[in-house]
Amino acid sequence: MKCHDRGKLFLFVHRMLAPDEADVMRQHVADCANCARVVDEHRKLEVALGDWNVAEPSPWFDAKVRARVAASEQKNAGFFGFGRVRVLAAGMAAIALILVAVVLFNHQKVAEINQPPGSQEQTTVTAVQPQVPATTAAIRQPLPPEEQLKMDENLSVLEDYEVVANFDALSELPQANDN
């Protein structure tokens, strides 16, 4: 049987060969002085390397690890706990701001509608009016109080069904089956 290279012998010494390969190698090394010498070198190196001692952990090692873990936990709690509260608070503040803005806007709209003509706000609104067509502006102009009163007095007529049902103007409209 031919001799193996140093790499294969190294793998044999360090038990990195498959069991069947290791069996073949073991038989060969038992009969081959050259390969047995290489195996011996590897084993001696293995033993020699055992002479390197290093320090043990200090007695306060565990305490230091626990302190670091506790500090990290606290930091994480700060980040995820307080941070979450802050995000929630910011969100609620934003919602509150939006609600306030909507309420204020509506309030202003109502105030504009109910405002008598000629007031300060009305002047401001009419100052912007030139951009609106004149007819639209005329429609949007609030009626004088006496006209408004007349309209309100006639409203009861529209509420009376008999009057509306017999309204001549309606009977003059073309019927659906008329061609």
Partner: protein, 193 residues
């Protein structure tokens, strides 16, 4: 008495069991500190990085997947920390202009100004020779040899830790041990120093 496996302990740590974390700490503090000591030589830095490794294990407990061995995961974290520390030290030495070359590798030394008397007493001449020979190895070979020889980690696990193939680990280890055999010839021949 049934001894809990690392995996069981880690799963309990994930559920928030502090006692299980203490048990993992008890099991692995010595191997981990020694691993960092051998990788970096600086004892104070070794302790600091070992603590950092445990902290990272704790902080990453929810991401732990039980499909890999706990020690593979632990040593992967530790190896990344050690290799980063070595690279940082190399970078600082390059900036300081102190880097020297040995066999094409930029050598570096963590010169610990606080090297304890105890450490000096522990380190024999034989120990110093071994340390210097291993420190002169390229980073990956050094990590592979230390994991294999001193941490008793299987070559398959080393492949997982270094994220290389098993055949690459075999090759790394063979080249490293061959280099060490040449450098440590006086020890290998059995001569007393």
């Amino acid at each position: 008495m049934v001894v809990d496996s690392d995996l069981d302990l880690m799963l309990r740590v994930r559920e928030g069991d502090a006692g299980s974390f203490d048990e993992l700490l008890r099991r692995y503090r010595t191997p981990l500190v020694k691993y960092f000591c051998r990788m970096l030589r600086d004892e104070a830095l070794a302790e600091d990085l070992a603590q950092e490794a445990f902290l990272r294990v704790y902080n990453a407990r929810h991401r732990y997947r039980p499909d890999a061995r706990f020690t593979t995961w632990l040593y992967r974290i530790a190896t990344n920390l050690a290799l980063n520390a070595i690279r940082d030290a190399k970078g600082r030495q390059r900036q300081d202009g102190n880097g020297s070359t040995r066999d094409g590798e930029t050598s570096f030394e963590f010169v610990d100004p606080r090297a304890s008397v105890e450490q000096q007493m522990i380190e024999t001449d034989r120990g110093r020779m071994i340390r210097e020979a291993i420190e002169a190895l390229p980073e990956n070979q050094r990590a592979a040899v230390i994991l294999h020889k001193y941490q008793d980690v299987d070559y398959r696990q080393i492949a997982g830790i270094l994220k290389v193939s098993e055949s690459a680990v075999k090759s790394l280890l063979f080249r490293a041990y061959e280099t060490l055999r040449v450098r440590l010839e006086p020890l290998v021949r059995g001569g007393q120093l």
